[in-house]
C-alpha cells in the first residue's frame, strides 16, 4: 500500500477509498483493491482497533512502576497475558510478549539451545522453517553449534522417519518444527514429531505463527511462538510461550521484564490489542475456517484448470484453511506480482526474483517444485467470495499476457 493510504485516513487501508485512488493517478480506477496476503499481515481486526485506541488512553504508563497509572497498565498487561494463555491452553506465567514473531522465534531457538548446552549443541529443524528460525540456526552454527535440516516430501510435509532418526542422534539440544508452512500451507505432523522427541527427551519448539487464531493447536510442544499481525492484531507483537519444566535460558542480555525471557518494555497498547483480537479470532476460527476452506478449494481447482502450465503446490488436504500457493511456468514472479498489483490484487511470492537474496525460496526448493512464477494467496475475515471470483476471473488473462510478452506461448 502507498504512504498516502496509510496517512490519509483511519479507514481500512487495504480496501482503499475513492479519495485514495484519486490521489494515485497511476492506479486504474476499475481495479478496487483486493488484499490477499493475510499470511504476511492480516487486516487489523475491529476488536484490535478498539482495544488499541482504548489502551492508548489507558495503557501508556510503564507497568513496572509503583504509582496508580502504572498499576492500571499492569492490570491491562496481566489481563492480556491471561487471555492469551487461555487461548493457547497454557499458564499465564508461561507467556511472554516480544517485539515481533521474529524475535520470539530467535529467542525460542537460541534460548532452547542455551538451556540444554550441557546435553549437546545440535539443533534439529525441518527444511521448511521460517527464515527467522533458519537465521537463528545460522547464528548457532556460526558459534560452533550444529544444525540438522530434515527434508519434506513434494507436498511439503515433514519426513517423519528422517525426523525420528535426527532427533535420536546424540547431542540434540532442541528440535524446531513449524506447525504449518507459511509458504505453501501444508500442516505438519506435529503430534507424531513431538512423540519422537518425547521418546528421547528432546524439547520441541513449534513456530505456530500461521496456526494461532486460525486452527486448533497441536499438543506435545515445550516452546511455542506466534505473531499478532497474522491473526488480525497489530504488527510488532510476538508471543513466546515456554512450558514449565522446559530447560530454556534467555539468550539476551539480562532484563527482568516478561519473566526474563525478552528484554525491553512491551508495547502495551499493541499487546492489549493483540490479546483482544486473538480472543476474537479464536472464537470465530472454526466458522472462518469452514468459510475460507471452500474458497481455497475453489482457487486450487480453478487455477489448475484455467491457467495452463501451472503447478498448485502444498498438500491438497492437510493444509491451512486460508492459504494456497501455485507456480506459473515460464513466468517471472516479480512481473506477475506487479501485474496483479496493477489490477488491484495484493499477493505474495516465494520466487527468487522477488527476494533481495536472489535465492529460490528454500521451502519450494526443499519440496522440489517450480520456484519461479510463484504466487501465494492468503485469505482473511474480510475476504469475500466476490474477491476470490474477481481474482480467478482475471488471473488467466494476466498470466497469458505476461507469457505473450515474454514470447513463451506454446513452449
Amino acid at each position: 500500500m502507498t504512504d498516502s493510504t496509510v496517512v490519509g485516513s483511519l479507514s481500512t487501508p487495504h480496501r482503499g477509498l475513492p479519495s485514495h485512488t484519486a490521489a494515485i493517478p497511476s492506479l486504474p480506477v476499475s481495479a478496487s483493491p483486493v488484499y490477499l496476503d493475510a499470511a504476511t499481515a492480516a487486516p487489523m481486526h475491529p476488536v484490535a482497533r478498539q482495544a488499541l485506541l482504548a489502551a492508548l488512553d489507558d495503557g501508556w504508563a510503564d507497568p513496572g512502576k509503583l504509582y496508580t497509572q502504572a498499576r492500571r497498565a499492569r492490570q491491562l498487561l496481566d489481563a492480556a497475558r491471561e487471555a492469551t494463555a487461555l487461548t493457547l491452553g497454557v499458564r499465564a506465567d508461561e507467556v511472554s510478549f516480544t517485539p515481533s514473531g521474529t524475535t520470539a522465534a530467535h529467542g525460542a531457538v537460541l534460548g532452547g539451545l542455551a538451556g540444554r548446552r550441557r546435553v549437546g549443541s545440535t539443533l534439529v529443524h525441518s527444511a521448511i522453517e521460517h527464515s527467522a528460525v533458519l537465521h537463528a540456526a545460522e547464528r548457532h552454527v556460526a558459534g560452533g553449534g550444529t544444525a540438522t535440516a530434515v527434508p519434506v516430501d513434494r507436498s511439503g510435509r515433514l519426513d517423519l522417519t528422517a525426523w525420528s532418526t535426527a532427533v535420536r542422534a546424540p547431542g540434540v539440544a532442541l528440535a524446531a518444527l513449524i506447525t504449518a508452512s507459511h509458504e505453501v500451507g501444508t500442516v505438519q505432523p506435529v503430534a507424531e514429531a513431538a512423540s519422537a522427541c518425547a521418546d528421547v527427551g528432546v524439547p520441541l519448539y513449534v513456530d505456530a505463527a500461521q496456526s494461532v487464531g486460525r486452527v486448533p493447536l497441536p499438543a506435545g510442544w515445550s516452546v511455542l511462538t506466534a505473531s499478532a499481525h497474522k491473526w488480525g492484531g497489530p504488527p510488532g507483537v510476538g508471543v513466546l510461550a515456554v512450558r514449565k519444566g522446559t530447560r530454556w535460558e534467555s539468550p539476551w542480555p539480562a532484563d527482568e521484564r516478561e519473566s526474563g525471557r525478552t528484554p525491553g518494555v512491551v508495547n502495551l497498547p499493541a499487546v492489549v490489542a493483540a490479546a483482544a483480537s486473538l480472543r476474537a479470532a479464536a472464537a470465530d476460527a472454526a466458522a472462518e475456517a469452514s468459510r475460507l476452506e471452500p474458497l481455497v478449494d475453489r482457487i486450487r481447482a480453478r487455477v489448475a484448470a484455467e491457467v495452463p502450465d501451472v503447478e498448485v503446490v502444498g498438500d491438497p488436504v492437510l493444509r491451512l484453511p486460508h492459504l494456497v500457493t501455485f507456480s506459473c511456468l515460464y513466468v517471472d514472479g516479480e512481473a506477475l506480482l506487479h501485474a496483479l498489483d496493477r489490477r488491484g490484487f495484493a499477493v505474495s511470492s516465494g520466487s527468487s526474483c522477488t527476494s533481495s537474496t536472489l535465492r529460490p525460496s528454500h521451502v519450494l526448493e526443499a519440496m522440489g517444485v517450480l520456484s519461479h512464477g510463484n504466487v501465494r494467496v492468503s485469505l482473511h475475515r474480510e475476504t469475500t467470495e466476490a474477491d476470490v471470483e474477481r481474482f480467478l476471473t482475471e488471473l488467466p488473462g494476466i498470466v497469458a499476457g505476461l507469457r505473450a510478452e515474454a514470447g513463451v506461448v506454446g513452449l
Binding site: 513466468v331 519450494l364 519461479h372 513452449l411
Partner: protein
Amino acid sequence: MPDEVIDCRGQRCPLPVIAAARRMPEVPVGTVVRVLADDPAAAVDIPAWCRMRGHEYLGSVNGPEGPAYDVRRTH
C-alpha cells in the same frame, strides 16, 4: 556427456528454463542438452520443468564453467 550445451550464465529465472524449453523441440529425441546456469533457482526449476514436461533430468554437474544441468529429450 552432453550432445550440446546452452549457455544461460548471467540469466535470471525463469530464462534458463525458457531457453531449454525453446531448444528441446529442435533436437532429436534422445539428445542430452546441458544447461549452464548460475542462477541458483535453476537447480530447482530445471528438474521441476523436466517433471512437468516429461523429459528426463539426468542431474547436475559443477565444473569449471559453473553449475550445469543435463536434460534428455524423451519425446
